[in-house]
């Protein structure tokens, strides 16, 4: 079965600084990878996704992520964060779950705090 690890529970970044959120996955084949953002009291919104092709994918709100097969990673980056980026970020892998519900498998999330 697939799994996702987000090693950082909390990250604090100064406004205007760069950001990198880590994500490692475990899956036997080529995974479908996603980053979602959850603002306080809101549902999840898709930032970007990777299926195949160019390993650097661009998303909404100035985010990008790079797929590195050799490291089983899909880290999310942003060159300059804004206070409005404060939220919970979830990495997820999509894969057929072998008879289970074919939803996404999520990491436990990284809580991003922006310092003024």
């Amino acid at each position: 079965a697939q799994s996702v690890t987000q090693p950082d529970i909390h990250i604090t970044v100064s406004e205007g600084a760069s950001l990198e959120l880590r994500c490692n996955y475990s899956y036997g084949a080529t995974p479908y990878l996603f980053w979602y953002v959850q603002s306080p009291g809101q549902g999840l919104q898709l930032l970007l996704k990777y299926f195949s092709g160019d390993t650097l994918v661009q998303g909404i709100k100035g985010f990008e992520a790079e797929f590195k097969r050799s490291q089983s990673s899909f880290n999310l980056r942003k060159p300059s964060v804004h206070w409005s980026d404060a939220a919970e970020y979830f990495c997820a892998v999509g894969a057929p779950s072998g008879g289970g519900a074919d939803g996404l498998t999520f990491g436990k999330g990284t809580h991003l705090i922006i310092q003024p």
């Binding site: 809101q42 549902g43 999840l44 898709l46 996704k49 919970e88 894969a95 779950s97 519900a101 999520f106």
Partner: protein, 114 residues
């Protein structure tokens, strides 16, 4: 227009009660889901429902039952509520299979069982 909506937004109830959460999507998508987000924000899929085929995550108690009156709705019924059912429940919808299609999430329903 809200793509995926849920009602109610908050639900507070006593242990042992039966309650329902409604979900509606206006995207025309054919697959809908229910997720549970626990107090540590861990999201786990409970059900997926596609073309009247229900797939249940094996860890979900049978007190939970999704009901789909039509393609745009997937309601969640919970019987004999327990303290451990307190969580935020998210409905989602996608076109086709979830593992490669974007899922659109509702705003969530915060269930508190006293």
């Amino acid at each position: 227009d809200t793509a995926v909506s849920q009602t109610p937004k908050y639900l507070v109830t006593q242990m042992g009660n039966d309650k329902s959460i409604k979900c509606e999507q206006n995207l025309g998508h054919d697959t809908m889901y229910w997720y549970k987000q626990d107090s540590k924000k861990f999201l786990k899929i409970m059900f997926s429902y596609n073309n009247k085929e229900l797939i249940i995550n094996e860890t979900v108690p049978n007190r939970f039952s999704p009901k789909s009156p039509d393609k745009a709705h997937l309601n969640l019924h919970i019987n004999s509520l327990e303290l451990g059912d307190s969580a935020v429940y998210f409905c989602a919808a996608s076109r086709g299979q979830a593992f490669y299609n974007e899922q659109f999430f509702g705003p969530g329903t915060r269930l508190t069982v006293l």
